[in-house]
């Protein structure tokens, strides 16, 4: 990830800080590896001290003593509040509606926040075979809100997904309201360039803030559709010194995920 030397922080670091602030109200958070993991740990140390970290490997209330290298790292087990069977985790915690926020990402996202983590190209003979759903499909349906963290590019912010692994908004808010799911779909997207919300009237992604130094043209050049822009388009607040210290000294001292 390229650094932005004149600003004193990397693109990953502003993605982490901007996402962590979005967790102020969160209590039970489904965590992924990489950036989401650092985001959740940062939020726990700043805006959301009571945040419970939940991992699909069956861990509720993890207190990782080191940066977990995968969602099944042994450091997640030691010192956790509970370790459940995977059935219980998905059935009693996720499907029953206990998870109020989860992070998802993918190789492709469309303007309604639908995600593809399955294939690029044709399913039967894919150009690129991606990992598939894992827990993403049911997380997208049941977590009360979904935060997406993804790097932005023409090939990932697409007009049409090659495959819809995890449902987002349908484009028809009346349909979405009648779904009866415990989840309300993606509520924000944080990229290396900008942050987005979703328009309540249409369910469509809407540009909310540009990261410092990023021009609207750069955002347009890195997505496959003409973005809806919030009337009150602002600038993403940069990471604070304290956020940067926590990321660099405590959460990812090796710079594994934040370079």
């Amino acid at each position: 990830m390229s650094a932005v030397p004149e600003l004193g922080y990397s693109k990953s670091e502003i993605m982490i800080a901007a996402s962590a602030r979005g967790l102020a109200e969160a209590r039970n958070c489904f965590v992924g590896v990489g950036l989401p993991n650092i985001v959740c740990n940062l939020a726990q140390r700043t805006v959301s001290p009571k945040l419970q970290l939940v991992y699909e490997s069956g861990v509720f209330g993890a207190r990782p003593a080191r940066l977990p290298l995968s969602i099944g790292d042994p450091t997640l087990a030691t010192g956790a509040t509970a370790i459940t069977s995977m059935f219980e985790l998905f059935a009693f915690y996720l499907q029953a509606g206990l998870i109020d926020v989860a992070f998802l990402g993918g190789a492709q996202i469309d303007r309604f926040g639908n995600l593809n983590t399955t294939v690029i190209g044709d399913y039967e003979r894919p150009k690129v075979r991606l990992p598939g759903s894992g827990g993403a499909c049911e997380i997208a349906i049941h977590a009360r809100t979904i935060l997406v963290i993804m790097r932005q590019a023409q090939r990932s912010f697409v007009e049409r997904l090659d495959f819809r692994t995890s449902p987002g908004h349908s484009g028809d808010p009346a349909h979405d309201a009648a779904r009866g799911w415990s989840g309300s779909g993606p509520t924000s997207v944080v990229t290396d360039l900008a942050t987005y919300g979703f328009d309540p009237g249409t369910g469509e992604m809407a540009l909310r803030t540009l990261h410092p130094g990023v021009k609207l043209e750069e955002v347009r050049a890195n997505m496959g559709w003409e973005p809806r822009v919030s009337p009150d388009l602002g600038e993403t607040p940069p990471p604070t010194e304290e956020e940067l210290r926590l990321i660099r000294e405590e959460l990812d001292p090796g710079g594994v995920s934040t370079k």
């Binding site: 590896v33 990489g34 699909e56 490997s57 069956g58 861990v59 290298l69 995968s70 969602i71 099944g72 790292d73 042994p74 997640l76 087990a77 030691t78 010192g79 370790i83 459940t84 069977s85 995977m86 059935f87 998905f90 059935a91 996720l94 499907q95 399955t118 399913y123 003979r125 894919p126 150009k127 690129v128 075979r129 991606l130 990992p131 598939g132 759903s133 894992g134 827990g135 993403a136 499909c137 049911e138 349906i141 049941h142 495959f163 819809r164 692994t165 995890s166 449902p167 349908s170 779904r179 009866g180 799911w181």
Partner: protein, 307 residues
């Protein structure tokens, strides 16, 4: 009192894994029995259907070893690293031949095992709505609740492996097996399968198991063979015994990317070795010492004595 089930990995695999079988070597990042996968490759089993929630590096190795006809899975990647290149070559380029796949989500796979273990014809879940997954897997079927609410659910079929191979921290000679840390689907896969091989870090007396019955995941009554094979999960981990060898997971990306490098690795670390003992020796004591975690004992509980 108990029949003697303790055997070697060689004999367990030779006797219980048959060509054409559906084999589940479970373990969610934790307790993945790589040594069993290597033995299956060494014995050149063929036409297996390999089931696992996360095929992981172990199934990349087994696919590279030519044992598999088909994969059943829910997340196909090298966790925390990236891709499984031997499997991707089979799917994307049919190199050296096509590989049949049948995919689910994690919850779907978990519930397939639960249905198999519970002798149910299907299991209903609230997932797959408005996803393309059921379009490419006709075994995932929408269904209405027969009760008043008429809620739409999707059902998945039971998964009944011919053989489940599950690694555990400790077991006794009867196969009573205890796990701590991440539980994965070890229990569900074992109860679902027709034949079960339990592989353990420590083979203990039955009294050790009976001192802490809440920790028993799998009772010997469903177990056919017990193999005492310490360090059998490398590069995966066994909570409290050895850490995940993340350097190996990273290294596998480089190895598997190039078919010739991969073939050389398979020769050096599987075909040219006689058993997992050789693998342990070849890696050397220093490499094992570097993976040993510190100590974090659980507190004891009092079950009470009611004699």
């Amino acid at each position: 009192m108990t029949e003697r089930k303790v055997t070697t990995m060689h004999d367990a695999v030779a006797e219980l894994v048959r060509d054409g079988d559906t084999v589940a070597i479970e373990g969610f990042t934790h307790l993945i029995c790589f040594a069993a996968g290597h033995e299956i490759v060494r014995q050149r089993k063929r036409d297996l259907t390999l089931a696992r929630m996360t095929p992981d590096v172990i199934y990349d190795q087994m696919v590279a070893g030519g044992v598999a006809r088909k994969l059943i899975f829910s997340w196909l990647g090298n966790p925390g690293v990236g891709s499984l290149h031997a499997i991707r070559r089979r799917i994307e380029d049919h190199d050296p031949g096509p590989l049949e796949i049948e995919e689910y989500s994690h919850f779907g796979m978990v519930c397939r095992y639960v249905a198999g273990a519970s002798n149910l014809p299907f299991f209903p879940i609230r997932s797959y709505y408005e996803s393309d997954i059921p379009k490419v897997n006709p075994k995932i079927v929408p269904m209405r609740s027969p009760y008043e609410d008429g809620t739409e659910v999707y059902v998945v079929p039971p998964l009944v492996p011919d053989v489940a191979i599950v690694h555990v921290q400790r077991a006794d000679a009867a196969g009573d097996a205890q796990i701590w840390g991440l539980l994965g689907c070890q229990k569900e896969a074992a109860f679902a399968a027709k034949r079960v091989i339990v592989v353990c870090e420590e083979l203990v007396d039955g009294s050790v198991i009976r001192r802490d019955p809440n920790r028993t995941a799998i009772p010997g009554v469903v177990v056919d063979a017990v193999v005492h094979e310490p360090l059998a999960c490398h590069p995966s981990f066994a909570q409290g015994y050895y850490d995940r060898d993340n350097a190996f997971y990273l290294e596998w990306d480089r190895i598997a990317r190039d078919p010739e490098t991969l073939e050389a690795w398979m020769r050096e670390w599987i075909y040219d070795l006689g058993s997992h003992r050789d693998y342990v020796e070849k890696r050397g004591e220093a490499s094992w010492a570097s993976l040993r975690p510190g100590v974090a004992l659980s507190g004891e509980v009092d079950y009470g004595s009611y004699a």
